[in-house]
């Protein structure tokens, strides 16, 4: 019986310790915990430092996608209206977040490291059509010092898609 009492007290001690100790829960959404380094959240379409989009509209992410969540349509760049280096850019880029399984294959397939699964996990919608994230929603903001797309560029400066993987000057 004494032993039983002890067990109860021990349990109550743990409860009391946790009740008055430092809490491990966070007050979401006021407070947010940083995600892990390899966390796979909502996709982001990256830009080069000068503001040009990294995505060249090759649609390899869509080909790699096991859930068929990505839809890409390409168009042709001109120096007067340039979105990305090279001849091709994604004029339509849509990801259906209801379909996406966050496997990250699109990241692996991307030849220009344009699509990256970011930190944002706050995906909620009240309507199925809102689950479709368009190019404008996915694109990163223009970095400081860069210009928004489409840009007017010098002829011959950005005429190749793939070798321009490092930041174009």
């Amino acid at each position: 019986m004494l032993r039983g009492m002890f067990e109860i007290l021990r349990g109550m001690f743990i409860t009391a310790r946790e009740a008055f100790g430092k809490p491990i829960t966070v007050q979401y959404p006021e407070q947010k915990r940083p995600v892990r380094e390899r966390f796979k959240g909502r996709h982001e379409l990256k830009r080069y430092d000068n503001g040009l989009e990294k995505c060249i509209g090759c649609s390899l992410c869509a080909a790699a996608c096991p859930a068929d969540a990505i839809f890409v349509e390409a168009s042709e760049n001109t120096d007067a209206k340039r979105f990305s280096p090279g001849e091709r850019y994604a004029s339509t880029y849509e990801i259906n977040m209801l379909r996406c399984i966050f496997c990250g294959y699109c990241e692996d397939a991307c030849p220009t490291e344009a699509i990256v699964l970011g930190d944002n996990f706050e995906l909620s919608f009240t309507d199925r059509s809102q689950s479709i994230y368009t190019r404008e929603m996915l694109l990163d903001p223009v970095p400081a010092g860069g210009k928004p797309t489409p840009q007017q560029t010098e002829p011959g400066l950005f005429d190749r898609s793939i070798p321009m993987m490092e930041n174009p000057k």
């Binding site: 649609s59 839809f71 349509e73 168009s75 898609s161 793939i162």
Partner: protein
């Protein structure tokens, strides 16, 4: 199978061994083809089975061994085991240029060969940009595929040292060149010069500086340019139409038929959902589909680039009714009630006019409806003779590829490259194989250089020329007109007639150069007589082919529709004028007046044409891309096409609309399933007997074998898995011996004063099915008059300058063209350019 290899089984075959597989092939076969027959792929880049080999790319290097021969005795040297000793060449040979010989041994997969392939690919890739992710060929690219299959896997090259060349070189408005990607195989330049005789592109400079350039103005001015992008083994040549359009693996292939001309080329429509079209499934590109009996693997640029009319913004999607002299949208029920009330009370005065691009099933229902209403069913066409083609048309099993030495081809009154480009190509190739090609045309055409004999006559004398040929065999008719007698004095004509009568096979193509309906009938009947008189009927590779103005005019004739010489009067007198897929008002002001004159006009169309705007009821129909059906080509091959994209909401297929109108008369017609209508056609028409959609979709293996990565490209669109169609039997084949009939040739009176304007056909006309293709806008012919230099000088007109013409009471300002091969006193007016011309007519031209 179409190759001579199979056509002549009696030829002694050559037996050789390819990688331990024994195969027997015809002498003259190249090693790569022999290997393919043995089931072994030897990779190639520059070799193409439809062209002469050049051995430029070195990809096909193999070890070639031949039986060793003792020089003294001439006897083969035998090994100890009694087998012949094989002597291998010290170096590798190109399999595409080495011709097979008896006992040859080919090794295609030894280490030595593999090493050579590694090296060839490594060299090719040193100057290749590796921008596969943005390349339109990526996914169906032989260089990609062969690198994956045979390449070294790693490169020793330093990326920064790669050669840099222009990536955006428009060769014309249709084809773009990426100089970096070009591997200099010369398939495109060889295709243009060897295959289609349009050498407008070529190589300039040498080595790394080498570049494809165009010599023509406008650039790459050829009706065949799209084919170069198909056979390009890399993404160096791309079409403006599909540039960055989609990746090949995202496209859905649908078997279809090109409906622009009577060749009925087999096509694959590649469709995909498109954001710009609001998420709808749309046609992204039109590609040729292999059918060695019809278009082989080629497609003309009109077939490839003029498909947008099916998706044009001006498509109508709701029926319209005329209320207070205005067309207002209505429901289908309202529209059909209005039509049916009129049809019920038409009392035999219903006139149905159908265009030449509907399907056999549509024509069947139209004919049934028209017969039930005791009306007339007319075909909107300026060419006659479909009944004669049905009687003495090409025999079953015909293939223009089989025509060669010993065969004769007569092309009369037709500028074949403009009217039916693929037939031009195949006739030209038959001439190159040794067939006697006789071209009879009043002016120079692109077929002339390939003809054994060129006969000239004055416009209007085309039937007289055939009569003169007939008369040269046995001159029994003294009552022939003067023109026949004059033509008969021509020795070249007599010689041509002899060649025709002595030929083993004879195919006659008659077109519509300078003819109207009456002269066309006269010409068709004369040509039929020529075939009958020389015994060239009822057999394969013999017969009459009409070069129709529209894709399925033959099907309309077979269904019983006929063109009419008094079309305007008939239309004007109609109580109900039912126009399906035709735009008479847009073609001819006289017919526009007739449409206005008719009591009640129903127009069933894709878009609001001039005729539709004048209608009382407009019914929206479906385009061929949205439905299924069958077509009958000028060679009388019935082929089916499949629905490629979902139909526009509110539209109905033509046969169904006709069936719904037929309800007014208590007539039950099939309104849902085209195969059921086809079964009714097969039950009624002897030529179609026994056919069904299943038979039309049958395929056999074709040569050259395609679809494997090493020859054309790794795509799926050449592959024909959905039907080669069936060639109909002609009446003469079914034992109904055609009878020689004599009809005095109808001729055109020369113009009394002024010039004689004659209609000719141009490929890029301004018809309703061509104009919506924005890509071709700059290539479409301008309204024009073509004059002889002397006539032009007399009138004070110069090339390219505007001229004022008065034609059929219409005045117009057109561009002057000058052609010195025209007969003097004649002027050409191309059809479907907005100028009213249906036949030879007097013309007044002033500067």
């Amino acid at each position: 199978m179409t190759e001579a290899v199979v056509a002549q089984p009696e030829t002694e075959l050559v037996t050789l061994t390819v990688d331990d597989r024994t195969v027997s092939v015809a002498p003259g076969t190249y090693v790569v083809d022999a290997a393919k027959r043995a089931g072994i792929d030897i990779p190639v880049f520059c070799y193409h089975p439809k062209m002469e080999p050049v051995g430029m790319c070195r990809m096909c290097l193999v070890e070639v061994g031949r039986p060793a021969v003792d020089r003294a005795s001439g006897q083969p040297i035998l090994e100890a085991d009694g087998k012949p000793q094989i002597q291998f060449a010290p170096k590798l040979d190109t399999g595409c240029t080495v011709v097979v010989s008896e006992g040859m041994v080919i090794r295609g997969y030894t280490d030595k060969v593999k090493e050579a392939r590694d090296e060839v690919l490594e060299f090719l890739l040193t100057s290749h940009p590796l921008d596969c992710p943005i390349c339109d060929k990526g996914g169906e690219c032989p260089l990609q595929n062969l690198t994956m299959n045979f390449g070294p896997g790693k490169t020793r090259y330093i990326y920064d040292e790669k050669i840099r060349l222009d990536k955006h070189v428009p060769l014309g408005d249709l084809i773009f060149l990426d100089r970096e990607r070009c591997i200099q195989c010369a398939r495109c330049t060889r295709f243009q010069s060897e295959v289609v005789d349009d050498p407008v592109i070529g190589f300039s400079e040498r080595g790394r500086e080498l570049e494809i350039v165009t010599f023509s103005d406008p650039g790459f001015d050829s009706y065949w340019s799209g084919n170069t992008t198909d056979i390009c083994p890399v993404g160096a040549l791309t079409t403006a139409d599909f540039r960055f359009g989609a990746r090949p693996w995202e496209l859905k292939p649908v078997a279809s038929i090109c409906t622009h001309c009577p060749v009925n080329c087999n096509t694959t429509l590649n469709t995909r959902r498109e954001a710009a079209a609001g998420g709808k499934q749309v046609v992204k590109r039109v590609m040729p589909r292999q059918n060695e009996w019809v278009n082989e693997i080629w497609l003309c640029d009109k077939g490839r680039f003029a498909y947008q009319y099916t998706e044009a913004a001006n498509r109508i999607t709701q029926p319209m009714l005329r209320k207070d002299n205005k067309l207002v949208p209505a429901t289908w029920d309202e529209a059909l009630v209005a039509v049916n009330a009129k049809v019920k009370t038409a009392g035999g005065k219903m006139v149905t006019l159908a265009g030449g691009r509907l399907t056999n099933e549509d024509y069947f229902n139209i004919k049934k409806l028209s017969d039930a209403a005791k009306g007339q069913s007319l075909l909107h066409s300026g060419i006659a003779g479909g009944d004669m083609v049905a009687s003495v048309g090409l025999g079953q099993g015909s293939n223009l590829t089989d025509l060669g030495s010993g065969s004769a081809i007569l092309v009369i009154a037709s500028d074949l490259e403009e009217e039916a480009p693929l037939w031009w190509l195949r006739v030209k190739q038959a001439a190159e194989r040794g067939a006697t090609l006789i071209v009879a045309n009043p002016r120079r055409t692109k077929l002339d250089p390939h003809a054994a004999r060129v006969l000239r006559y004055n416009y209007g004398e085309e039937a007289a020329l055939v009569h003169a040929m007939l008369d040269s065999f046995s001159p029994k008719r003294p009552d022939q007109p003067e023109s026949v007698k004059r033509l008969l004095r021509d020795d070249a004509l007599k010689a041509a007639a002899q060649e025709i009568s002595g030929a083993e096979n004879l195919v006659v193509f008659y077109g519509s150069e300078g003819t109207d309906l009456a002269t066309s009938h006269s010409l068709a009947s004369a040509c039929a007589n020529l075939l009958i008189a020389t015994g060239h009927t009822g057999r394969p590779n013999n017969g009459l082919v009409a070069v129709w103005d529209k894709g399925n005019a033959q099907g309309a004739w077979d269904a019983g529709l006929r063109p009419s010489e008094s079309l305007a009067t008939q239309m004007e007198d109609a109580a109900v004028l039912y126009i399906v897929g035709a735009d008479p008002a847009g073609d001819d002001p006289q017919l526009a007046a007739a449409v206005d004159g008719a009591q009640f006009v129903v127009v069933q169309e894709l878009a609001l044409t001039k005729t539709a705007l004048a209608a009382d009821v407009v019914l929206p129909a479906q385009a061929f891309t949205e439905r299924e059906g069958s077509y009958t080509s000028g060679e009388r091959r019935v082929q089916r096409f499949y629905p490629a994209v979902p139909a526009l909401d509110g539209t109905r297929p033509d046969f169904a609309i006709t069936a719904h109108i037929a309800n007014a008369l208590g007539l039950k017609l099939e309104d849902k399933l085209p195969p059921k209508i086809f079964a009714q056609i097969a039950a009624g028409d002897e030529a179609y007997r026994g056919l069904d959609y299943g038979k039309l979709s049958e395929v056999v293996e074709q040569w050259p074998i395609i679809g494997r990565a090493d020859v054309y490209y790794g795509g799926t669109t050449y592959d024909n898995s959905q039907g080669l169609g069936v060639q109909l039997s002609s009446a003469s084949e079914r034992g109904q011996s055609p009878v020689l009939s004599f009809e005095s040739p109808k001729e055109t009176e020369p113009a009394k004063d002024g010039l004689l304007a004659v209609p000719v056909t141009r490929l890029y006309d301004r018809g309703n099915t061509v104009v919506p293709s924005k890509l071709l806008t700059d290539r479409l012919e301008a309204p024009q008059v073509v004059l002889h230099p002397e006539d032009a000088e007399k009138l004070g007109l110069e090339m390219g300058k505007p001229a004022k013409i008065t034609l059929n009471g219409q005045q117009a300002t057109v561009t002057t063209h000058i052609d010195n091969s025209l007969p003097k006193g004649t002027a050409l007016i191309p059809r479907s350019l907005g100028l009213p011309i249906n036949g030879p007519v007097e013309l007044k031209v002033t500067a």
